[in-house]
């Protein structure tokens, strides 16, 4: 394989070549920009910022004897970086430079990875399509008329089209898993408290998790291994070492997977139901057992989430006031400065959620909305707890639909919120979730399934994902992965 083709390699293969001196980090990085980047980026718009000097400096400084040596990584633009701006897809933070790196960014750099830039996102991670970015939408590389999902749409699309083999996003209600499903890549939301959030700009602090995108299960496992673990700068971290994911290739023999088929009896695209059946059959062929049962419908989770997440957001986003950083509208008095700066700096979806969250927390409505949602959250977490007494993982859809068209849901917030109906539960319960691509539909759109596990269940999720990846090579996923070998010229 020539140097210009290295973007096709898994992250682990790039690192292995860099460690052995056969490949330079700069060549690995520029391969993605020169090849797929030249071909796709103008149409897809996955990047919010990249700076050739900064990425060349990062490539020079990357340690060469490390697990991710020379691996190019794109970061969602709500992860703080010293060498690129951090905007959260918002006008209010346009041009803002963090004085420090997020802990996960520092760990990536120590592991040899090269940060190549920042990926597009819905403003402050509020959205499911990346259409609410203040800097223009990202488009789905499989169909430019369709959305890549969101809110981490930029990183997902960049991994899908080949700019980078690994990317980080954040997942508050599905913002890693849903775009992973729409873009045909793997997306992992780890257990709450396993990846540090120090330097992740907060949205809903009891729900936010940093997540990982990859095209290969082994890369996902390596990314998780490098990133997970205690951080004294994040008081919400779980104690003790992160689970060992090195057995991701161990197969699924003896594993029981829950099959809550009541959830997709109606309202789920037929291609997704078909993918679920295929995934279940693959797991069974690998020696796993299907355990059917009914599960609480996801609409309760959506209702709970949009009260709690907005309440937390209304508090977290109070820091953007036009005084210490960000957009400022000069005014005669401080009150006017606050309201004009925030009114101009925040987009419509962020304003909507701040208003809803403030209302849910307000005197007189607090019990009816916020407290009720907190009780519902406990009920939902218990439902998962009881399910995991009967099985090691749950198999269910990532999304109810295939990638939708740009503009299709922007005027109907509830319809947009319901695209997270299968992902939100994991955030409410603090458990890990993984979206696994299951190939392409006849219309050549990505289709995916989701695996959910109990807290610290990442090892079994990765084993199941690997089983689907192996089976798929010769069956359903050949189309999905074929994409890596199609480019360029065969589109």
């Amino acid at each position: 394989m020539s140097a210009s083709e290295t973007w096709r390699l898994p992250a682990r293969a790039i690192a292995e070549r860099v460690r052995s001196g056969r490949l330079s980090p700069a060549a690995a990085m520029e391969s993605g920009f020169d090849g797929p980047g030249e071909h796709w980026e103008r149409d897809v718009h996955a990047l919010l910022s990249t700076d050739r000097d900064a990425r060349e400096r990062a490539a020079r400084e990357a340690p060469r004897d490390a697990p991710l040596a020379g691996v190019p990584v794109l970061l969602k633009d709500n992860l703080c970086t010293r060498d690129h701006p951090t905007t959260c897809g918002s006008r209010i933070l346009s041009g803002w430079r963090s004085p420090y790196d997020a802990t996960v960014v520092r760990r990536l750099r120590q592991a040899g990875a090269v940060v190549v830039g920042k990926g597009n996102m819905d403003e402050f991670a509020m959205g499911s399509s990346t259409e609410f970015s203040a800097f223009g939408p990202t488009r789905n590389p499989y169909d430019l008329a369709r959305v890549p999902g969101g809110s981490s749409g930029g990183p997902a699309a960049a991994v899908a089209y080949g700019l980078v083999p690994l990317a980080l996003g954040s997942d508050t209600g599905g913002s890693v898993r849903q775009p992973a499903a729409f873009c045909g890549v793997l997306g992992l939301k780890p257990t709450y408290g396993r990846l540090s959030r120090y330097g992740l700009v907060a949205f809903g602090s009891s729900l936010d998790q940093v997540g990982v995108f990859a095209r290969h299960v082994g890369d996902l496992a390596e990314g998780y291994r490098v990133l997970a673990g205690p951080d004294p700068f994040d008081a919400s971290m779980r104690e003790g070492p992160a689970p060992d994911v090195s057995g991701w290739g161990a197969g699924v023999s003896g594993i029981r997977f829950g099959w809550p088929a009541n959830l997709w009896r109606e309202g789920v695209d037929g291609a997704i139901v078909d993918a679920l059946e295929r995934a279940a059959a693959h797991l069974e062929r690998g020696g796993a057992t299907r355990v059917p049962f009914d599960f609480l419908p996801g609409t309760f989770a959506v209702a709970t989430y949009y009260l709690l997440a907005t309440a937390e957001a209304s508090s977290n986003l109070a820091r953007f006031d036009g005084i210490r950083y960000g957009h400022r509208h000069d005014a005669e008095d401080v009150g006017a400065l606050y309201s004009l700066s925030r009114g101009e700096g925040f987009g419509p979806e962020v304003r909507r959620r701040i208003l809803l969250g403030t209302y849910a927390l307000s005197a007189g409505y607090h019990d009816e909305f916020y407290m009720k949602a907190q009780r519902a959250r406990t009920r939902i977490a218990r439902e998962f707890h009881e399910a995991f007494a009967r099985c090691e993982l749950l198999l269910l859809p990532t999304t109810p639909t295939l990638p939708f068209r740009l503009g299709e849901k922007t005027e109907d917030p509830l319809s947009m919120y319901l695209s997270d109906v299968f992902t939100i539960g994991a955030n409410l319960a603090g458990i890990p979730g993984l979206s696994v691509p299951m190939g392409l539909t006849r219309e050549r759109l990505p289709v995916a399934v989701q695996l959910l596990g109990p807290a610290d269940g990442e090892p079994v999720l990765l084993r199941a994902a690997r089983a689907l990846e192996c089976e798929g090579r010769t069956h359903v996923m050949s189309n999905g992965y074929e994409r890596e070998f199609m480019w360029p010229g065969s589109r």
Partner: protein, 66 residues
Amino acid sequence: MLDFAATLDQLDLGDEELTALAPADAPLRSDAPDGRTLDPETATANAPEAEAGFFLVPPIVENLEP
């Protein structure tokens, strides 16, 4: 959205506890400097208006006689 939130009334939540995800024994670090300090110039570097390491704001006390 508020009408949609009312669907939660269909759940019997009578004796459910409020959710608390953070462990009661949340890990605490020692109460000592950890080397993370921002000097005034760095702290105000992103400020829309700053002077000599201070954030500038409009007057917040009204009718103040000089």
